[in-house]
Every structure is written in C-alpha cells, then in structure tokens.
Amino acid sequence: MGNEMVSDGDRRDFLIKLTSVVGGAGVAATCVPFVASMNPSSDVLAKAETEVDLADITPGAMRTVAWQGKPVFILRRTPEQIQSVSASNGVLDPQPDNARVQNPEWLVVIGVCTHMGCVPNKEGPGWTCHCHGSQYDDSGRVVHGPAPKNLEVPPYKFLADNKLVIGRA
C-alpha cells in the first residue's frame, strides 16, 4: 500500500461523509415502519363508516351514535327549532344554518367539543360542554367560548328517507 493512499485526506473525508449520509438515510428509513405502526391500524380504519336507522327518532329528540369511536349527535329538529336557528348566523364562528345541514329537519354533528375534545351535554336549546363551559345552539354553532369553532359536521349521506350513512359523502 502506497503512503500517498493512506494520507489521502480528501478521499477519506469524502468516504466518511458518504458513509454518514447513507447510514443516516438507512436509520431514517428504518424509523418509517416504527412510526407508521403507531397510526390507526386496518381494523380501526374499517369502522370509518356508520349506518344509522332514523325511523324511531321522534321530532325534537336526539340520538348519539358512534362513528370512528367518536359520538355523533343526530338531532331531529322541530319546525320551531329550525326557525330559531335560521334567525341568526351564530356568534363566534358565523355560519348560516342551511350550510350545516342537508335536510333542515336532521342536524348531524360530531359531538366533540372543538376546544379540548369533551362531549357536550344536550341542555335546553343546544348543548353545553361541562369541561370548560362552551355552549352550542341547535345548529351546533358555538354561542359561548372558550370553544373556537362550531361542532364539526361529518361527511354523511341519506341512503333513503330514514337511513343515513356517516363517513361517506
């Protein structure tokens, strides 16, 4: 082995850098399956749609169904309730009521407070979240903070007059 090869600094630096980059990329790539394994598994994703039979919900009544493990409020609204929520656009996150429903009689919202993720209770007109005191009206719009946003409307579709699927648009 020639002396000049042993002391070839540039060449050695290049090889060290190359090895570091390839090794680093290998470590990063190895991390991918570990990180990905913590994302929702296939069986969790499989419960991404929920079908609901609406036949036995009377006007003014509410049903809570589970969709992706989260509560979804289905409220069959009376003409008076529809009238009162159509009168305003909400307070903190203004949105007209008809932009939040497909059929004014049926309000479908995710029952998760947009503040810290608690489940609000149906109280009087609308909902109240007992964790931090947020209030929502019968359109699921926030009327009193600290929640910053209206209750989220999930993607849903009427399969028939009294059959609903949540999770499919």
């Binding site: 992706q68 493990g69 993720g117 608690c118 489940v119 007992h130 931090h132 910053p148």
Partner: protein, 420 residues
C-alpha cells in the same frame, strides 16, 4: 476468605474504590439540612414504583375491554393486590411531592447556579420524564377520569403547526383514545421508568462531579466535608422513617383520598363527566392552560411554565451566595411564588367560573412575571446588599469569583487567538 473474594473482584472491577469514592467516603458538606434528604427519598420512591409496578403488570391487562376489570381483579382477587395497587397509586403522588420539595429546595438555596447548571437541567429532564410516565400510567385503570384526561392531554398536540390533527391520531393510533392508545401507553409506561433510571445515573454523575451544594452557598474547604457514611446514611434513613410513616398513613388509612371518584366508572367515550380535573400534581400547570383564552397560546404557556425552571441559571444574576437564606428580596419572591403555585393549584381544581378565570389569569401573569423579573430584581438586590455591607468573607468570595471569570475569559480569548 471474604477478603480474598473482594481482592479477586478488585483486580477485575473497581469495586472497593468505587464504593469508597462514590458511596461511603463520598465527601459531603457537614452543614446539610434535612431539606437535602429529598433527593435520596426521590430515588427510594423510584425503587418502590418500579417494584410495585412490575408486580402489578403481572396481573394487569392492557386491553380496553378488560383493563378496568383487571384492576378490580387486582383489588379483590390477587393476593395483596390491593396493597400493591395502593402503594403504586400513592407512590405516584409521593414521587411528585418529594420532587417538588427537592426543586423548591434547589430554588431556595440557589443550588442551580454555577457550577451546577447541568445538574439542574438533568433534573429538569427527569421532571419531564416523570410527568410523561405519570400521565400515561393514569390512563391504565381505564376509568372515566383516565379516559378524559388522556383525551384532553393528547388533544393538546392539535396545537402542532400544520399537522396537528395527524399528530393526535398518530399518538392515539385511533380517531379517539381507544384500545390502541391504552396498549401503547402501557408499553411506554413500562419503558419510561428505565429511562428515568438512566437519567438518574446521569444526574448522579453530574452531582458527584460538582458535589452537593449546602445552605451557606459557599463551596466548603476540604476540611468541612465529611464522609457520606455513616453521617448522611444515618440522616437520610431518619428522613426515610418520617417519609414512610406519612406514606403508610396514605396507603393504609386513606388510599382513595387522591383518587377521583369518577375514575371508578369505566371509561365511556360517549359521555364526559361534568367536572374533569387532573391529578393534584398537574393542577397548577392545568390552571395556566385554562387561563389563556387562545387554545394554542394555552398549550404554549403550559409547556413554557414547566420549562421556565431550566432558565433559572441565566435569570438569576445575583452573585450573593447562599440563595434565599442571605437574600431578603429573593426570599420574599420565593414565598410569593409558592403562594402563587397554591393559588394556581386551587384554580385548576375548582370548576371554571368567570371569577376563577380572572384569578387564574392574574396568577398566571404572576407565575411568569416572577421568572422574568428575577434578572432585574437579583441585580438590584445584589447592589443593595453590597451597599448595606456584607461580611468580609462573602466579599472576598465574590471578588475571587469575579477574578476567576476574568481569567477564564482571558484564557479563552488567548486560546482562540492562538488557533487563528
């Protein structure tokens, strides 16, 4: 025979010299008060938690369908299961109590100051690990408080810029806290104590490099240090006796006093309890979270409130040794800070009303204010104390320190100059 065995080992492993240097003969300031017991106590609680935890894990089932029932199984059917579980649950509170006192002592006596900054920061890391471990452990009983506590805290990660929602789903492994969340929290709750043990070793290596501080704040001359054994083994064991009495009172006579009643209801993802509160040791930080009206702001403020302690070596500009003991204004500030912590704890515990919100906001301002004012107050206080007259020994010490810093700076600049 015994001497021969020791001799055989010593030729292959530095047993005798290690024990002599780091344990029995470890030089310790002779004037340490009982406030210096709490580091040892923290180590002991860690051992208790690991021991009880390993035996609990032999009976616990980390599955959403069976977790709650397996706790009942431990409480009713497993031999001494009730004892193991109550020791572990009370032990978590004891751990935080001991650590909080340990930190308060460090703040009061200024033990975080040079040369103990790294010691203080490894302690800060230990605090974060402890908080994470306790939080994940609290989900395992799978009661209503467990479930909703984990829901609210994992929700905080929604404040991550751009990918907040994805981060929350990734952490939970589900769209809500669910079976996947429970199982991974159990796995990590079992792992983290071993990370803590590793961090404790680093903490102790740092301690044995810079040695213990002491109430006078002056680095004692060699003749003022005494060997750790028998003097401080005896002192630590006396403190341990007191600690075990209080611990046993909780374990045997009031084990439920620190467990929220709502946690005896199985987790229900469809129904939030009307009043959710975190464990007592998180209350002040939870109050800060709730005091900031903006969600992201609240999360940042809460994170910062835990991390503020790490800045103390930079914030405290005073050169007066001995911490609050010889610094009247700092002492006043220390006690006001303790009161502020209690106020925040109370605000975090009670249901939120408009008046508690305002009290919480004022207390939050005081919390951060007391940190941000330290640089100014400590400088003014130092000038005032020097003007009022300090003992000659302390003045010599400050002058000596000043000279050392100047020398170090000179040396550094010379070294840099020499290299170029």
């Amino acid at each position: 025979m015994f001497a021969n065995v020791i001799n055989w080992i010593d030729q292959r492993f530095p047993l005798t010299s290690f024990v002599k240097h780091e344990l029995t003969g470890y030089p310790t300031p002779r004037n340490l008060s009982y406030w210096w017991n709490f580091g040892f106590l923290a180590g002991l609680v860690l051992v208790l938690q690991v021991a009880t935890g390993i035996f609990l894990a032999m009976h616990y089932k980390a599955d959403a369908a069976t977790a709650f029932d397996s706790i009942q199984h431990i409480m009713r059917d497993v031999n001494y299961g009730w004892l193991l579980r109550y020791m572990h649950a009370v032990g978590a509170s004891a751990f935080f109590f001991v650590i909080f006192v340990h930190m308060a002592r460090t703040l009061y006596y200024g033990s975080y100051r040079a040369p103990r900054e790294l010691l203080w920061w490894t302690g800060q890391g230990l605090l974060l690990l402890l908080m994470a471990t306790a939080f994940m452990g609290y989900l395992l009983p799978w009661g209503q408080m467990s479930f909703w506590g984990a829901t609210v805290i994992t929700n905080l990660f929604r404040a991550t810029p751009f990918i907040g929602d994805d981060v929350v789903i990734w952490l939970r492994g589900d769209f809500t806290v669910g079976d996947a969340t429970l199982t991974r929290f159990f796995a990590l709750h079992y792992l983290f104590p071993f990370l803590i043990i590793g961090a404790v070793v680093i903490h102790l290596v740092a301690l044995h490099t810079v040695k213990s501080s002491n109430p006078s704040g002056i680095d004692l001359a060699h003749k003022d240090n005494i060997p750790f054994h028998p003097y401080f083994t005896a002192k630590d064991f006396y403190g341990l006796g007191i600690f075990l009495i209080v611990y046993s009172v909780f374990v045997f006579f009031m084990p439920d006093s620190l467990i929220e009643p709502a946690n005896n209801i199985p987790a229900n993802p469809m129904q939030t309890p009307n009043h959710i509160v975190p464990e007592w040791y998180f209350l002040p930080f939870y109050a800060i979270l709730r005091s900031v009206p903006n969600m992201v702001g609240g999360v940042v403020a809460m994170g910062l409130s835990v991390m503020m302690f790490a800045f103390m070596p930079f914030l405290d500009r005073s050169r007066i040794p001995g911490g609050a003991h010889y610094r009247p204004i700092f002492k006043l500030q220390f006690y006001l800070f303790m009161i502020d912590m209690l106020v925040l704890g109370w605000v975090g515990y009670v249901p939120q009303t408009s008046s508690t919100t305002i009290i919480g906001q004022i207390a939050t301002l005081c919390y951060f204010g007391s940190f941000f004012l330290i640089p100014f107050i400590s400088r003014v206080e130092e000038r005032w104390l020097i003007k009022r007259g300090l003992p000659q020994e302390v003045m010599t010490l400050i002058d000596k320190e000043k000279k050392e810093i100047a020398e170090r700076k000179l040396k550094n600049s010379q070294r840099k100059g020499g290299k170029a």
